[in-house]
Amino acid sequence: MSGKNSIMQNIVRFLKSRNGKILIGTFIFWLILYPLNKFNVMNNYWMHVVNVSLIFVILTVSLNLINGFTGQFSIGHMGFAAVGAYTAATLTTLVWKVPSHGIVAYTAFIGALLLGGIAAAFIGFLIGLPTLRLRGDYLAIVTLAFGEIIRVIINSIDFVGGPRGIPGIPRFSTFTVVVVVTVLSVIIMKNVIYSSIGRALLSIREDEVASELVGVDTTRYKVLGFTVGAFFAGIGGGLLAHLVQYINPLQFGFMATIYVLIMVYIGGVGSISGSIVAAIGLTFLSEGLRFGLDKLNSVTPFPVGPEWRMVIYSVLLVATMLYKTNGLMGDREFEVLIPEEEDENAKHSA
């Protein structure tokens, strides 16, 4: 009897902990949105926007891991996402030719997603290597060049369609899948950041020379930071491919990286919460502006072109940077994203 009781107690204790709160919060989020879409209160279009925004959460947090927490300025992030997307989509669509339903198909999809992440992580490892010698703007330009090279190489491989891309990818990234993968990815990245690895990454960001002097193997951790960030970018890319069902190399160009970069900086460098808020907020803002302009168009006598959407977006971006230089969240976090053990540390250090 007592054994069963303690299991229950453990479960209750877990649900009361912060990770438990994340789990409950996620479940409530799913429980509200899933029926809304099922009974057509919320149409598929907005559901798609929700899914895209969640995938951008993965991409943004993973870029923040490299740029914000490790302090290595990388602007080739969508290159990693491209590797993940192409690996996963090639496996499911071109090699295994999995059906679009059934448990086997989903297992294959999860496998393909992980393999895509691993392929991206390997590329991230390769790109991490030059970081041993380069820093700052030079590193930025090398990551940019790598990202473009990945795109050019994909463009030239005929098996994956070259510039035509891969059409007809089965739609495995349903709302449920996207929510589960996103929450898992964010929790894993959060745990990496609050582990000893994360401490080493932060110390490299704060002062590379000093951290090397106290015995941090900076080379190893910088490469590790790149590898982990790239892995999750690959996962995000794979999800995106199975959501939009069509990929081509242009989707992963420089501008796409810029969008993710903007999300990182608007949210706040070195804040997971900021990345989450910015990724969801900016995705919805840019879709919302679309409808706002339509409304405006029906009122004004002269036509208002769709380009004004991006004009407003860029003005907001510049204004945010001018008036809130460190981004919306700075380096603060929501309480649920900080492990309980950190509170003790904070108390001691205070």
Partner: protein, 302 residues
Amino acid sequence: MSGIFNLQQVINSIQLGSIYALISIGYTLVYGIIKLINFAHGDFYMIGAYAAYFAVIFSAARKEHPNVIIVLLISMTAGAIVAFLSNRIAYRPLRYKPRLSALITAIGVSMFLEYTSSAIPAVGPSYRAFPQSQLIPERTYHMWGAVLTNYQIVNIVIAVTLMIILTYIVQHTRIGMAMRASAQDKDAASLMGIDIEKIIDFTFIIGGALAGAAGLLTGITYPRINPYMGIIPGLKAFIAAVLGGIGSVPGAMLGSYIMGFAEVFGMAINSILGEGIAYAILILVLIFLPQGILGKKTGEKV
């Protein structure tokens, strides 16, 4: 000579390199003084191309023959004004804030210029043909198996002249001396009575003017313009500046010609992979020469 390595490709490379050089000088000057990668620089070039376009259209509508020099001055002025304004409005308030915020702001300015241009009905998002034959009637010359048009000659002559003028300004005038001093040590320069903000304004004006000129030259030689035309050349010119050693003007010129050659010959070898060859060269150079070809080697202070 036959095959890939012939005179025609050399001429094309020099012409492409000249355009990159005019753009990358602006990158390198601005970076030298305020350490900002000005992502909007490629858009100053786009503004220059559109200014030239409207100047030619306008004078053709009035049945006048447009003068190349006047059109050049118009596009340089347009580039300079936009560069000056973006410095004053967007970059100056962030001068003493974290560098990466300024970088994101630069991306914002770049997007603003691109999308505003395409939102304005007179410009519009689609491609336009640049009326280069109304500016200069085309002539072709044949020499040693290569075909040379007078557009290419005008392109190279204007670019080289502007680069000579720029080198003179930087090396032999008081304001150029102030620019070099500010690039070396901003604080010491301001203690010596140099108005840093004025120098930064001037740097943006020069960079914008050169980018504007590059816009006109692109319009003449590759006569197709649209509001997003600045992104890729801007990126490549930036790579060229890094390749030559960012902060160094001769380095930017050298890097640009290397990029021009790499790109033209890369494309000639394989039209799809060619684009990547330029990037591959860049990565190799940076791995073995992290400061660029002509960049100053700086030790790290602990």
